[in-house]
C-alpha cells in the first residue's frame, strides 16, 4: 500500500509511470524507486525461497546489508531489490535457492 497523504511529508507528488513484470504479473511502479518498494506496494512480501529448505524470505534491512531480499532481475540472480531502482519493463522473478543466470543453470 502506498502512503498518499502524510501529516509531515505532505501529499505524494510522484506518479505511477512504469510497469514491472513479476513472475509474469504486471505491477505498476514508479521509475527509480527500489524494486522492493514496488513489490510491497502491491502486497508482495515473499521475494525468494532458500536453497535447502525452500523457506520464504522477504526484506529485512531495506538498506542493502542483509541480502534477504535478493531476486532474479532481467536474468541476473542475487540482485538486492531494496537498493536496486526500478526501470520500466524490468522482468523479475522470485528467486529459488541460489538462482539461475539468464534462466539457465
Amino acid at each position: 500500500m502506498r502512503v498518499l497523504h502524510h501529516p509531515i511529508l505532505g501529499d505524494e507528488t510522484r506518479k505511477i509511470d512504469a510497469t514491472i513484470i513479476v513472475d509474469g504479473r504486471k505491477i505498476p511502479a514508479i521509475e527509480g524507486e527500489p524494486i522492493a518498494a514496488t513489490l510491497l506496494s502491491a502486497g508482495i512480501k515473499k521475494f525468494r525461497e532458500t536453497q535447502k529448505n525452500h523457506k520464504p524470505r522477504g526484506i529485512f534491512c531495506a538498506i542493502g546489508r542483509c541480502t534477504d531480499c535478493v531476486m532474479t532481475v532481467d536474468g541476473i540472480p542475487n540482485v538486492r531489490t531494496c537498493v536496486t531502482p526500478v526501470k520500466d519493463g524490468m522482468i523479475i522473478s522470485t528467486q529459488k535457492g541460489l538462482g539461475e543466470w539468464g534462466g539457465k543453470k
Partner: protein, 364 residues
C-alpha cells in the same frame, strides 16, 4: 588515478558533517557512498531532534540532511554516489565499484563513516517475510512512501522502537502493540507518552514466543518474562498482525576498519567490537579517522559532532588550520559532545566513550 586530500567513506550525517567542516578549511574533500542518494539514515528521520539549539533541536532530521547537502555543494565537496568501497590498501589507496566497474582513489587522510546495521532476534518464525528491522520499515514509509504492512507489532522500546511506531501510525498503519523484554521502557518518556496517547498498548517484561504463518506473518504469540528473563507459563497472548518490526539495537559496520588494520576494543553498550580512537577521532592507524555509528552506536546528533571533529582534525594535520585555530574549533565540538552525553540516557554512553579513549591511552 584520482587523488584527494580527504576521502570520507559514507555520506550519512557523520560523513557529510565531516566533509563540510574539512572543506571550510580549504581542504579538497571527496565523499564516497554506495547509495544513489546521499544522506545515510538521516532522510528517514522525520521527527524533531532533541538537545539544545546548537544541536539543531526542534529541526526534523530530513531538513538537517537538506542543509548538509546544500553546504557540500556550496563548498565544492565532491560526492561520489553508487560508489561501494570494498578495500583500503597501503598508503591509503581506496578501491570502490561504480556501475559494476573498479575504480581507485588515493587520499592523504581517510575518514570511515560507514554507520551501523540493525540487529536481528531469534524466535520461531523469525525468518518469515514480514519480520523486519524497525529501521527497514522506517525506510519504506518515510523514504519510499510504501507501507510494509497494516498491523504491526513493534519489538523494543528504545527510542528507535518508539519513534518508528509513531511514524508507522503517521503513515497510516495500525501498531497493535509494542513489547519490551526489560521491565522498563528503554527510550524517552516523551516518545512513549505520544504513542500511548495514540492508543498503542506497551507491554514490558514481554517477549515474542512465536510468529505464526507459512508464507508470511499472520499472527504473533507473546509471553511474559520473570526476573530471570524466563517465559512464565500460561501468560501467552495472541495478536493478529502482518508485520513484526525489530528495534533491538544496531551493530557498527566495521568491516573496512578491520580490513584496514585498525585495532578494536569490546564495549557492549556501544554495540560490541568498536575501533579504538583518540580525542581527534583518529584510529590506531595514522591518517585513518572514524566518525558516527561505526565508533559506537549513538544517534544522528552525536554522529554529526564526531564527523565535524574528524573534519577539523584532518584539516589540521594537513596544515589547513594551525594548532590554535583547530583547538578553538575542537573545544566547541568537545563541549557539545559532552552535553549530548549527559542525563539518564546519555551518561551510559559518556562512560562507554571514556572507556574507548582509555583503550587508546593504554595502547600508547
Amino acid at each position: 588515478m584520482k587523488t584527494t586530500d580527504i576521502a570520507v567513506i559514507g555520506a550519512g550525517p557523520a560523513g557529510l558533517s565531516c566533509a563540510v567542516e574539512a572543506a571550510k578549511s580549504g581542504a579538497r574533500v571527496t565523499v564516497l557512498d554506495e547509495n544513489l542518494k546521499p544522506g545515510g539514515q538521516l532522510f528517514k528521520q522525520i521527527h524533531k531532534f532533541f538537545g539544545s539549539r546548537e544541536h539543531r533541536a526542534g529541526i526534523r532530521g530530513f531538513r538537517i540532511g537538506q542543509q548538509l547537502l546544500e553546504a557540500t555543494e556550496r563548498l565544492d565537496v565532491q560526492v561520489l554516489l553508487d560508489a561501494a568501497v570494498y578495500g583500503i590498501y597501503e598508503d591509503r589507496l581506496i578501491a570502490y565499484i561504480t556501475d559494476g566497474r573498479d575504480h581507485t582513489i588515493k587520499a592523504k587522510k581517510i575518514v570511515l563513516a560507514t554507520g551501523a546495521s540493525e540487529n536481528a532476534l531469534a524466535f520461531p518464525g523469525c525468518t518469515l517475510p514480514g519480520v523486519m528491522g524497525a529501521g527497514a520499515a522506517q525506510t519504506m514509509i518515510n523514504v519510499n512512501r510504501v507501507l510494509p504492512g497494516k498491523k504491526i507489532i513493534m519489538v523494543g522500546s528504545g527510542n528507535v522502537g518508539l519513534i518508528v511506531s509513531y511514524q508507522l501510525m503517521q503513515a497510516g498503519a495500525d501498531v497493535v502493540a509494542l513489547i519490551e523484554a526489560a521491565p522498563k521502557i528503554g527510550g524517552y518518556g516523551v516518545h512513549a507518552g505520544k504513542i500511548r496517547r495514540a492508543g498503542v498498548p506497551i507491554y514490558t517484561s514481554t517477549t515474542i514466543k512465536e510468529v505464526l504463518g507459512e508464507e508470511k506473518v499472520e499472527g504473533v504469540i507473546t509471553a511474559s518474562l520473570d526476573e530471570k528473563w524466563q517465559h512464565i507459563e500460561d501468560t501467552e497472548k495472541r495478536f493478529e498482525a502482518d508485520t513484526v518490526c525489530l528495534a533491538v539495537g544496531l551493530s557498527p559496520l566495521t568491516e573496512l576498519a578491520w580490513m584496514a588494520g585498525c585495532e578494536f576494543t569490546f564495549i557492549p553498550p556501544l554495540g560490541g567490537h568498536v575501533p579504538i580512537h583518540d580525542r581527534n577521532m583518529e584510529s590506531t592507524l595514522t591518517g585513518v579517522y572514524i566518525a558516527g555509528d561505526i565508533t559506537g552506536v549513538e544517534e544522528a546528533s552525536s554522529a554529526m559532532e564526531e564527523g565535524r571533529l574528524a573534519g577539523v582534525a584532518c584539516a589540521e594535520s594537513l596544515g589547513y588550520y594551525n594548532e590554535k585555530q583547530a583547538l578553538a574549533l575542537k573545544n566547541e565540538i568537545w563541549d557539545r559532545l559532552d552535553a549530548l552525553r549527559t542525563g539518564p540516557f546519555g551518561e551510559g554512553r559518556f562512560t562507554a566513550k571514556l572507556k574507548q579513549l582509555e583503550a587508546r591511552r593504554q595502547l600508547a
